[in-house]
Each structure stands twice: as C-alpha cells, then as structure tokens.
C-alpha cells in the first residue's frame, strides 16, 4: 500500500527502500519513460518506489537530456511516458531570458514548441499512457509581469496542449503542485545552475504522489470501494448520543459545512464509478433514520451498496463486504475517525488503504481529495454511473439464491439473457475500461487503451466480441470482452483477450461466451484456435479454463501457458441451456 510516509523519507532512504523493493519483484516490468529538457533523474527512484509500493513492477527510465522530440520517436513501446517540457529551460542556462525577449521571438518560440508538441503527440500515439506536464513560469514571473507577453505565451501553449491532446494523453497541471508547495519549495535554483535540475526533491515527491494514480489506473490498480464510518465521518458527532438534531451537517455551522463538503466529495467518487459502503458501530435504525430524515444530507441510503452497521469487529465486516462484492481487498479504501479502528484494519488487512479523518476537521476535504484521486480511471464509461444499481440488484439475487437448494434451479430461475455484439459498433470506452479493470477472470490481463481498441476494431484481422447480460432482477451491463486475431494468413485464429467482469461470474456465462466465439471463428473458415493464459497476481482461478474447454496445452514458459484447439474436437460440456442468446 502506498503510504504518505514517503514524504517523511530522506532521499537516501528512498534510494535504499527502492533498491530493496526492486529485488522483491519478478516477471515483466511496467516501463515508464521520462522525457525531459531538464535534469529530472531524481524522479526515477521516487516514482519507482511509489509504484513498487503499490505493487507495480515498475522500471523508470530517463531519456537523454533535452532530447524530448528525438526520444519520442523510440519511446512508444513504453507502458507510460511522462513529458517534462520546461519552457524555463528553452534558453539553456538563462531561465530569466524569457522575461525580456520581444514579441517576434516569442512567436518563433511558440511555433517551435507547438510544432514539437505535434510531433511528440504523433510519435507517442501508440503508447497507452502519456502524461504531458503543463507549461509553467511561476518561478520567473511576478505581479508586474501579469500583462507580459511571455505569460500570454504560456497560457496559449497550455491551451494548445489541451486542444490537441489525443485520448491516450493526460494533461498534468504542474502549477497545481507548485501552488500547493509554494514556489520557494518547488524549485531549486542552485540545482538548476549546477545541474540543470530545476525542481526540488519536495516537488518531485509531490509530483510522484499526485500523478501515480494516473499510472496505476492503467494497471488495474484503481480503488473500487470506499468504506466509510458514520459518526465523525459522515457527520460531526455521535448520532446514538447527540440524536439527528444534535449532529453537525449543514450550512449552519463551520463544522457542518465541512461535512456537507465531505458529502459532495464522497458523492463525486460514486458518480465517477466508485462504490460506497458503510462499516459503522452503530444502531442500524439510527443510521437509516438519518438518511430518511436529515434535511441536509446529500448522500442517501441507496448510494451505499453495502451497509454493515452493527457492533461487530470492523475487520470482519470489511472481509464480508469483499466477499459479497467478489472484489479484492486491495481495491478497498477505509476511512474512519478512530485511529484504533484504522490500526486494527491496517494490522489485519494490510491490502486495504486506510485514511484517518483529520484531527483538524478543516483538512477533511483535502483528505477526501486524496482519496478521490485513488479512484481515478483513465476512461469512464456509461456503465460507471449504473454501478451501484448493479450491486444493489446483485444483493436481491443473493437473497433469492438462498431460496434454492440446487444451483442450476437458481440459475434457471434468473431468466438470463446474453447479447453478443460483434465488431464495429462495440462500446470502445467500456471495452478499454474492462481491460484496465478486470483482474480475476482475465486470461491474459492485456491492458488496452481506447485508441488501441479503436485501431483493432477497424482492423479486418481482428474480431472483437462484447457481451451484455441481463436477468429478471436487472441489467448487468457490458461485462465481457474477447479480442481475437483472425489474420487469414496465419491460418490459426488466436484469442488474445478473454475476460469477464467479476459481476457475472458463477452463471456459466464464460462457457456460452467461449462457445459463441468458437462458432464464429469456425464460421470465418478457421479450423484451429490458439489461446494463452498469462498468470498475474489475481487470475489463478482461470489457469485451467482453456484445458477444461477442449483446448490442448502445447507450451509452457516463464510468461505463461499456451493452448490450441482443433475446432472439430470442441465440446461445450457445461450446462448453458438456461441462457438465452441474442446476437447483434
């Protein structure tokens, strides 16, 4: 778990800890390239440490000094690229020259930089994740410069950066970090004049801290569930003692306003696709009474997918929620005002990221902004807003399931209907999101960007299948994806991606999905299909999926297992008769 303790570590301690963690990983690396026109090498160990603490086997490489454009020609094979294009180093050695040059020169600079931006965007179009820092001149500007041409230039460059930004790029507003730290703490002029290293280590730590979720989100590491306490977390005070009229929430007091802001921020996490749950030692009726009757509450009872409001151990309640939602504990964030509870959860469930409601309550919105960042997803889809509804429907299914002794009777009672959508008109943002977020039932864990999927969907050598599922309780949405290489010259089709959201597991949908894919591959004229299982920390449950479905294992190596199916030998031995199929 990434810990803000990074900020308490000296640089040498960061180097030491990073070296220690490097040896704890094996397997393929997540490659991050930093291209810069300044010296930025101290960011390497800081960024590597923060990513490694988050379980990403990261390797950060720094490009050649002041060679961004040239380096961009050979950098799109990285998993992520970060661009530090600092206008302050445009005139090497004299960062203040910008304050005294004429308009004609400024136009020449603008043309040169916009041209560079175009080339960089084009060269990195195949890289799945590019972070491009904003242009900033706060180090050299002062109040009297506010009407100066170079300030306008920077403004125009940032607008250009955003206007031309492709889908695989993210604009990082470094001025946000500089404002947070202050100019004096953000820059180091001595480092600049000695080494062309503009930023202080404080800035680099803050930069890594602010931007690492943009990297990890592309690695299936976004948080998914925010678990909240109630007393002194959703409102100020103790509802069991103070009563609904005695707690603080609303505009009538500074403290109440803070909690109202907290409600808005928590709601925004849900609106972005995060799931909310309550784990609170309270009387259930008191909390429900609050949601029904408090005039100022923004959050409502049905915003929460699970409410474990009881007097049981919070650790057990969190484990129960993880099991009910079929989501790993590493995707959970726990927020509580009690250090006792936080330490208990940290001790027992180290995978859970814990936050403490700050002692100074006016810092609470800042804490929630930190939490919100962890839920960042590079691509939101229309499915996100419906997520809580899906899980609430699932809760109804579970209640219904308990009435059946035989699982097949239960599955038959659901009236499951699958719709398979082939090719051109698939929902690309959702398809990309499924590859980014699905960990358990994901045979190869290939993370794909919208651009990559869009390119494949236009490529005649690729077949893309996306499934939606519904039953009598509701619509599960678009929850399965497969990408098959159907290049006729290869004579053997290859399933490159096969995944199902954990939301629909346990309904035999995977078997009918595979069945439909095999039939389509056969219809396209292939007699053989290749596939693979690439192990990750999460997908052990599907290690034998292909072998159980008529595929023959042909090779094993350190990367994974490889299979082949002679389509004439294919048999679907699983009961899928209760699933109605629609094809589009």
């Amino acid at each position: 778990m990434v810990d803000k303790l990074l900020f308490n570590l000296k640089f040498i301690e960061i180097l030491k800890e990073n070296q220690r963690l490097e040896n704890s990983f094996s397997g393929s690396k997540y490659k991050v390239a930093i291209l810069a026109n300044i010296t930025i090498n101290q960011l390497k160990p800081i960024f590597e440490l923060i990513l490694r603490q988050e379980g990403v086997n990261a390797e950060v490489e720094i490009g050649n000094y002041n060679n961004i454009v040239q380096d961009s020609y050979s950098s799109d094979n990285n998993d992520a690229v970060i661009i530090f294009y600092d206008i302050l180093n445009f005139f090497e050695s004299n960062i203040f020259k910008l304050t005294s040059i004429d308009k004609k020169e400024l136009i020449a600079i603008e043309n040169r930089i916009t041209n560079d931006i175009d080339i960089i965007y084009k060269n990195l179009s195949n890289c799945s994740n590019v972070l491009f820092n904003s242009f900033d001149v706060s180090l050299i500007a002062n109040l009297s410069d506010s009407k100066s041409s170079f300030i306008d230039l920077v403004d125009r460059l940032n607008k250009y950066l955003i206007a031309k930004m492709p889908k695989n790029c993210f604009y990082v507003d470094t001025s946000f970090i500089i404002r947070k730290l202050g100019t004096l703490k953000s820059f180091s002029l001595s480092n600049f004049f000695l080494n062309k290293s503009l930023y202080s280590t404080e800035f680099l730590k803050e930069y890594a801290w602010e931007t690492y979720p943009l990297i990890t989100s592309n690695n299936g590491k976004s948080k998914k569930v925010l678990i909240l306490d109630c007393d002194n977390t959703l409102w100020g005070g103790i509802i069991g003692e103070d009563g609904i009229d005695g707690i603080s929430l609303g505009e009538n007091s500074p403290k109440g306003s803070v909690y109202l802001s907290a409600h808005s921020l928590i709601k925004s996490i849900k609106d972005d696709g995060g799931l909310l749950a309550i784990v609170s030692k309270n009387n259930f009726s008191d909390v429900e009474h609050f949601f029904k009757n408090h005039k100022s509450t923004i959050l409502k009872s049905d915003d929460f997918i699970e409410k474990q409001i009881n007097w049981k151990n919070k650790v057990q309640n969190i484990v129960d929620i993880s099991s009910k939602l079929n989501l790993g504990l590493e995707s959970f964030v726990f927020l509580d005002d009690s250090m006792y509870e936080i330490n208990m959860v940290k001790e027992s469930l180290p995978e859970v990221t814990c936050f403490h409601v700050p002692e100074n309550i006016f810092d609470y919105p800042r804490t929630l902004l930190e939490i919100k960042k962890l839920f960042y997803s590079p691509n939101t889809s229309s499915e996100d807003a419906k997520k809580t509804a899906y899980y609430l429907e699932e809760s109804e299914r579970k209640k219904s399931k308990s009435n059946f002794k035989d699982i097949s009777d239960y599955l038959a009672s659901l009236n499951l209907e699958i719709t398979i959508n082939w090719g051109k008109e698939i929902d690309i943002p959702r398809a990309s999101q499924l590859t980014q977020k699905t960990n358990q039932f994901n045979l190869t864990t290939k993370r794909l960007t919208e651009i990559e999927i869009e390119t494949m969907s236009e490529d005649k050598d690729y077949l893309i299948a996306m499934i939606s599922l519904k039953d009598k309780f509701g619509d599960y949405g678009k929850t399965g994806l497969s990408i098959i290489n159907t290049n006729k010259q290869k004579s053997v089709a290859e399933i490159e991606t096969f995944l199902l959201s954990c939301r629909i597991l346990g309904r035999n949908v995977e078997f009918i999905f595979l069945d439909l894919i095999i039939k389509e591959i056969k219809r396209l004229g292939f007699s053989k299909v290749k596939s693979s299982y690439i192990p990750s920390q999460k997908n052990i449950q599907v290690a034998d999926f292909y072998e159980k479905n008529s595929f023959r294992r042909i090779k094993n190596n350190t990367n994974g297992a490889y299979f082949q199916l002679n389509i004439d030998n294919y048999q679907n031995n699983n009961n899928t008769s209760f699933i109605k199929v629609h094809e589009k």
């Binding site: 000296k10 640089f11 040498i12 180097l15 090498n41 101290q42 001595s190 000695l194 080494n195 290293s197």
Partner: protein, 79 residues
C-alpha cells in the same frame, strides 16, 4: 550534531546506497570516474544536505571528489 565517527559512518552508508558498492570499494571512488558522474554527485549532495541539515555551496560541491573529501567537508560545515 554527529560526532566524527558517526559522520564517517553516515557518509559511508550514503555512498554505499548511492553507488551500490560495498565498504572496501567506497574509498576508491573518484568523481568523474564511472560510476561517479554528475547525476550521482547530485544524489550525494542531496543526501548529505538532508542527513546533516547543511547547505553545500558551489565550492564545497566542486571539492567533493572522494569519500574522504565528503567527510572533511561535512566535518567543517558542522563546526
């Protein structure tokens, strides 16, 4: 403030981590000779400044060309 032995031990530890070398090799290292380049120098300077809560001026940094000199510079700055 650290005594002379502690200063030497702390600097030795910094060098071991920055260069990933063992004790015996630390005294052989020289600025400008692989692996001690300007980037390693920056890491050494940052680490020394943080460890001893001192500020190394340009002259100090130019003189910082060996482990022994690092010890000497820090001892002087600590007086």
């Amino acid at each position: 403030m650290k005594n002379n032995i502690d200063v030497e031990l702390a600097i030795r530890e910094i060098f071991k981590i920055v260069f990933q070398k063992d004790d015996k090799e630390i005294n052989q290292l020289r600025y400008g000779v692989n692996p001690w380049d300007s980037l390693a120098q920056m890491n050494i300077v940052t680490s020394l400044e943080e460890e001893f809560d001192v500020f190394l001026k340009e002259d100090d940094i130019l003189e910082l060309i060996s482990f022994e000199m690092a010890v000497e510079i820090i001892k002087e700055l600590q007086i």
